[in-house]
Amino acid sequence: MSPGNKIFRLIKQSDHNGYWFVLPYVIFFLTFIAYPLVFSFILIFHRWNIVTPMQWVGLKNFGRMFQDPLFFKSLVNTLIFLAIHIPLQLLVALGLALLLHSKIQMRGFFRAVYFLPVVVSGVVVTILWQQLYSYDYGVLNTVLTAFNLPRIPWLVDPGFAMPSIAIMATWKNVGIYIVLFLVGLQSIPHELYEAAAIDGADTVKQFFRITLPMLNSTIVVIIVLSTIGGFSLFIEPYVMTGGGPMQSTLSGMLYIYNQAFYFNHMGYAASLGFIFALFILAVVIIQRKVVGTESVS
């Protein structure tokens, strides 16, 4: 029997309701995922301002990227963001999760408060922190001067602006990671600690020999989610600084947005998106290698 006939027979024997139930998804997939993917692949080889016909440029978009200081700037900015955001996020989340995991009263209440910024729109958080960071009247500098410390030029100094955004992003997202750490901590069998205590291991040793290794996959998941977040950073610099001062908060996504929707450089913007997506995919693939398939349910 030819393969065509075989497939035909298999389809005939199938539960036809199955096809009806997945039909909306198939249409959705073809229209809003497959078509844009193919179109994106065409677009990166073209120059196009969306009005006049497309113009084939080969690999020139990528050549241009290598000579584009703003592309490198946005990449470096993203890395600065991640270099501050990820360690800070892990430390604060793990610290608070350990405290919440110990025997304390009102655990649910504390957890709920730490989680509050997660549910609120990034726009709200950004407007709010823009005021907290204000040089002359901001709450943070008021507190600093009350302790006789110098004011910090949070958003006005190019050296401070991206770290400031990274701190704000940590404040916004840390609640999710506290919850992930709590789930991880609860899954560690109690017998491990009992056995270690019998062997004479103190609390510090238990933490480094049992707790931390058992949280390994949680930590990797958090690093990956934060990295994807860093490469998708948009609304915070868009609202807070517009990418300034001196392009110091120009994120990858903000640069793509500017290229596409201010300058109408659709081909170049698509190429930038393509490159930034490759970075994200690399991180995801490394994660799969490190954690294996256990976290993929």
Binding site: I7, I11, Q13, S14, G18, F21, V22, P24, Y25, F28, F29, I33, P36, L37, F39, S40, L43, L96, I104, F110, A112, V113, F115, L116, P117, V118, V119, V120, S121, V123, V124, I127, L128, Q131, V139, I176, V179, L180, T218, V224, L225, I228, F231, S232, F234, I235, Y238, V239, M253, I256, A260, M266, G273, F274, F276, A277, I280, V284, S295, S297
Partner: protein, 269 residues
């Protein structure tokens, strides 16, 4: 002593996470010159800033837009997603495993790749400045399909077979038999979808330029960045408070579900 230190750190944390919101709400009610004070109380609280926000931008209309869009997206994601999840978990058809792998694959595609072509598609379809552009591209999600599939796998096959013998159609089995058993997963998908839809700003900024069609976070963004607030702190904080309030109220009631749902996203990685 050690215990006291623990509570001290937890309380400091609480102040760090809660005080800024209280300061924001207080600031939206205080007169302009008192806003930068650390105090949360003033003798001259008023709704003056709110009144001005309502006259300067169509924020009421934006609230209704956001509600309509987010509720439509959530309903579609739950109904259509559970149908696909049911087919993948309980129906036998040729091509099922390919489809399943395909959906897992789509979850790995970074949105940076598809964003611009999707915008072009909206332009070609003539959907910019309409609800369609805000609802249709978000009406299905691979992640929720997978969540539904995982949950439905645990529903005993015998239950479904029994319903079949009684002459139930697959639609009735899904919506009248399985749905009532699936409250946890439906709540998870609904909360995650609603929150993502309500808080999204990038996509609305791209496809909507007409002020009467703007979503709530979008119009607040435009208000703040476009200079309409004329750098009056009270107005900025009032618009931010209006945007935060619906979510905070929902969170106050369904706090546990929010946290559990977000914990489920960790599995995605």
């Amino acid at each position: 002593m050690k215990k006291a230190l623990k509570y001290f750190v937890l309380l400091i944390g609480m102040v760090i996470f809660a005080y800024p919101f209280l300061w924001m709400i207080a600031g939206s009610l205080k007169p302009e010159i008192e806003i930068s004070d650390l105090e949360l109380w003033s003798s001259k609280l008023s709704f003056h800033s709110y009144a001005q926000v309502f006259t300067k931008i169509p924020i009421g209309r934006a609230f209704l837009n956001s509600m309509f869009v987010s509720l439509s997206v959530t309903t579609l994601v739950v109904v259509l997603g559970s149908m696909v999840g049911y087919a993948l978990a309980k129906l036998k058809f040729f091509g099922k495993s390919v489809l399943y792998l395909l959906i897992l694959f789509t979850m790995m595609i970074p949105f940076q790749i598809t964003l611009i072509p999707q915008y072009v598609l909206m332009v070609k379809l003539g959907w910019t400045d309409t609800y369609l552009s805000l609802i249709v591209p978000a009406m299905m999600s691979g992640f929720s399909i997978i969540l539904f599939r995982q949950f439905f796998m645990s529903v005993p096959q015998a239950l479904i077979d029994a319903a079949r013998i009684d002459g139930c159609s697959d639609l009735r089995i899904l919506f009248q038999l399985i749905w009532p058993l699936s409250r946890p997963v439906i709540i998870t998908v609904a909360i995650l979808t609603f929150m993502a839809s309500w808080n999204d700003v990038l996509w609305p900024l791209i496809v909507v330029r007409d002020r009467s069609m703007m979503t709530m976070p979008q119009i607040v963004t435009i208000f703040v960045t476009g200079g309409e607030a004329e750098s009056q702190l009270g107005l900025l904080l009032a618009s931010a408070t209006l945007l935060a309030l619906p979510v905070i109220v929902a969170y106050a009631f369904f706090q546990r579900y929010f946290i559990e749902s977000m914990a489920a996203t960790g599995i995605k990685g």
